[in-house]
Amino acid sequence: MAALDLEEQEQLAELKAWWNRYGNLVLTAFILIMLVFAGFNAWRYYQRSQAAAAFAIYDELQNVTAARDKAKSAELAGQLLERFPRTSFAPLAALMNAKVQLDAGDNKAAKAQLQWVVDSGKDDDLRNVARVRLAGMLLDEKMYDDALKLMDAAHPASFDALFLDRKGDILFAQGKNADARAAWQDAFLKADEKNNLRQVLTLKLELAGGSAPVVKARS
């Protein structure tokens, strides 16, 4: 018994010594980890509360869009972009407002919104959507080079058909029929077979003096 006690006391002493040496380090590390964790949570909380506030404005914007209220739409989108530019709602709101402005005939305002999404939107997929739309507006203003430049941006494969389709539109407007045909044919091959983009492309190709590529039906 006594020997065991001795042994236990020895272990206890060792532990104490270890704690004296490393205790502060352990505590500091622990506190640091907790702080990082708390910080992370605070950051998430902040993000969510920002998003929730942005959602409220966006919800209103959705209603306004249905009513095509140009002034109110611009006001709400402006508010959202200014206060919550880093939320996912900002580029969505910009796209919404761009559509309302375009339908109301204010091309300049519409372009500015699309340009905002391309330059500052925090969502790569929406930026690609905005690129295609902006290129369409530039096409209407005969700014072919700027429009083509937008269509050269890197994008995931799922956007290939959209980009190529628009590229063909621009080239065709420039009178480059053969290039337009090539782009449209490429777009046709990349388009989803269930998508009616293919029908649109078929007509475009016919107009450019070509025809839709023959695609083997998937078995």
Binding site: Q62, V129, D169, N195
Partner: protein, 633 residues
């Protein structure tokens, strides 16, 4: 089912519907998803699995949806193949990916937003005001708790927010619209020569054994799928209530206990005077109002008959002051604010109340008239109660019977009679049908698999009880089975001969057409063309798709141009295009409809590309093979 969820969405919904409905199949929030590792999962999205049950629910929703849309044209067999199932799986995965993307982007509707959306939902409103009764009723009709509906709506709002930003905002460049408008209106003056196969049928000479040879070589085409005649039992609230005889005493008791359902509550009519003092107004203002009201009250206590006169003079209630303070009859159900109503229903006839303070100010109330509550006499509502009572009994009976029913049909597999006797059901029979065209009651993939399986066909056993639709269990057995057979040659011969003749005639038309095309190209004097007509894409004047493609696709730099080719419906067409022109005035209606069409098409393309990009980050795995796997038994 869940109709009311579908109609909820606000914006132009037809496109959203494509993607979001059926919404119920999405599942309840990310946390509720099964963890990974389910070997029977049909797909994995964002770390959650799509189970076979999820899929079946989605499939049922989808079929129900299609049945509603197509009505009598609905053919379940069109949807009973791997492609159709794959398409349903795709939709399900799309929904999950969208829901997951929304969550990742912190797109989560707050409680407040959720409440706003429910309160402003037109289908829960009466006269533009939210009605809780209507809301609860709609939930009950769909067998949903309010928290389940809220979860669902929350998810839907998020998905809608994410998708509407792309789907509702597409536009199409004016340059493209103009291009299409010109193309639609471009006019071509055409002469045509169509060689129909019928012109050549007389020349067709088939070998005497041609039909037999075809029959022998293509046996598959003449197969008749297995058919069977079935007997079955339906256990449902409806079938059960048929056998329940209403118990007079019970019905009476039900009537007595549920008087409020058959009664009209008491209604009271009041006069009142309002001296306004809004809640939260300065204390001095409230005190002044009180003094004024007390003054009026003293006069009234002295002479209650002066009420109308004083109301006209002092009351600030816009509706009633003119009428001497008179209000409409109302029940004690929240028509007025609570303190007001409580007081009104505590008064005696003619009595004038003390001051009643509400958020509007001070009221003095006089009770003018009482319509006592009344109850419809028993005989008048008896039929209604009996139906209610029967339904209630049947619902309980149904819930209590499910297990027993399943047990009996399983333990006594040689007849449906024991189960029919026990639950007082009638054995129904379905005339001969193939698996692809089942009668309505048996139209459930699971039940059909069992009914056409060995246990039912060879061993003549009852199928297990299957829930073919919510609240409807069916067990069936095979009464007669006709195995797969081949139509005899004698029966098929006429059809084969006609088909072969048509085929030959087409070949002859093509050969002749090609020769004529060559001749027409070579000589401007070629005879045989019809009169010149002017066509455009917008107005094809009866020319079919193939013909239009040849005519409009012909180069216009060297006219007249001659083109020709086979038509899909059979025959050979040759066209001579003499003139190409553009109309002087474009048609504005056409331009407008083109704009809509092109925008819609662009919206779909934009959204598809966007959704596909979202799916790239959703870690999707598809296991359609798990859907096609035969059930274990």
């Amino acid at each position: 089912m869940f109709e009311f969820i579908r109609t909820h969405q606000r914006l132009m919904q037809f496109l959203l519907l494509l993607i979001i409905v059926p919404a119920f199949a999405i599942g309840f929030g990310m946390q509720g998803w099964n963890p990974a590792g389910d070997p029977n999962a049909v797909a994995k999205v964002c770390g959650g699995t799509v189970s076979m049950q999820d899929f079946e629910r989605a499939q049922q929703e989808y079929l129900q949806n299609m049945r509603q849309q197509l009505g009598a044209n609905f053919r379940p067999e069109f949807f009973d193949n791997p492609e159709a199932r794959g398409a349903i799986l795709d939709r399900l995965v799309n929904q999950r990916a969208l829901a997951c993307a929304a969550l990742k982007r912190n797109i989560v509707a707050s409680d407040d937003l959720l409440r706003q959306n429910i309160l402003h939902d037109k289908q829960f409103q009466i006269d533009g005001k939210f009605s809780n009764e209507l809301y609860q009723g709609a939930l009950a009709n769909n067998g949903m708790s309010s928290s389940a509906y809220e979860t669902l709506l929350r998810q839907q709002l998020a998905m809608q927010a994410l998708s509407s930003g792309v789907l509702m905002t597409a536009s199409s460049p004016q340059t493209v619209q103009a291009l299409f408008a010109r193309a639609q209106e471009e006019q071509r003056e055409v002469q045509e020569l169509v060689l129909k196969p019928e012109l050549y049928t007389a020349q067709v000479k088939l070998a005497p054994d041609a039909a037999q040879k075809y029959y022998d070589a293509n046996q598959k085409e003449f197969q008749v799928p297995p058919q069977l005649r079935a007997e079955y039992l339906v256990l449902s609230v409806d079938t059960l209530s048929a056998s329940i005889a209403p118990d007079a005493a019970e019905v009476r008791k039900y009537y007595d206990q549920n008087q409020n359902r058959y009664g009209v509550p008491e209604e009271r009519q009041a006069r009142h005077i309002l001296i306004p003092a809004a809640a939260g107004a300065p204390a001095a203002e409230i005190a002044a109002a009180r003094t004024k009201a007390e003054g009026i009250l003293t006069q009234l206590k002295a002479d209650p008959n002066k009420f109308p006169q004083l109301a006209k003079e002092f009351s600030k209630d816009p509706g009633s002051a003119e009428k001497g303070g008179e209000l409409d009859f109302a029940a004690h159900n929240g028509t007025f604010v609570k303190p007001f109503e409580d007081k009104l229903f505590a008064l005696k006839q003619g009595e004038v109340s003390d001051l009643v303070q509400t958020d509007y100010g001070f009221h003095i109330i006089q009770l003018m008239a009482v319509k006592p509550s009344s109850v419809k006499p028993f005989e008048q509502v008896r039929a209604e109660i009996e139906a209610d009572w029967k339904k209630q009994r049947a619902q309980k009976l149904y819930a209590d019977s499910i297990d027993g029913f399943a047990d009996i049909v399983y333990t006594q597999p040689d007849s449906l009679k024991p189960a029919a006797d026990k639950y007082k059901l009638t054995v129904q029979s379905a005339p001969l049908f193939a698996r692809g065209a089942p009668p309505k009651d048996l139209n459930n993939p699971n039940l059909l698999t069992k009914l056409f399986g060995d246990e039912a066909v060879k061993n003549k056993r009852n199928t297990e009880a299957v829930e073919v639709a919510p609240g409807m269990m069916v067990s069936a057995r095979v009464a007669e089975y006709k195995p797969q057979s081949v139509r005899p040659f004698a029966e098929a011969q006429a059809g084969i001969t006609a088909m072969l003749t048509q085929r030959e005639a087409r070949a002859l038309a093509k050969k002749d057409g090609e020769a004529k095309l060559k001749a027409a190209k070579a000589s401007p004097d070629f005879v045989g063309f019809g009169a010149a007509r002017t066509l455009s894409r917008a107005k094809p004047e009866g020319t079919g798709q193939d013909g239009m493609r040849m005519i409009m696709g012909a180069p216009k730099d060297k006219l007249p141009a001659v083109v020709g080719g086979e038509l899909a419906e059979g025959g050979y067409a040759i066209y001579r295009i003499n003139k190409v022109s553009q109309p002087d005035k474009p048609d504005p209606a056409l331009a407008a409809s083109l704009k809509t069409t092109l925008e819609r098409s662009q919206a779909e393309s934009d959204f598809n590309a966007y959704l596909a990009a979202l799916k790239l980050t959703a870690k999707i795995e598809l296991h359609p093979e798990n859907i096609e796997k035969k059930p274990a038994n």
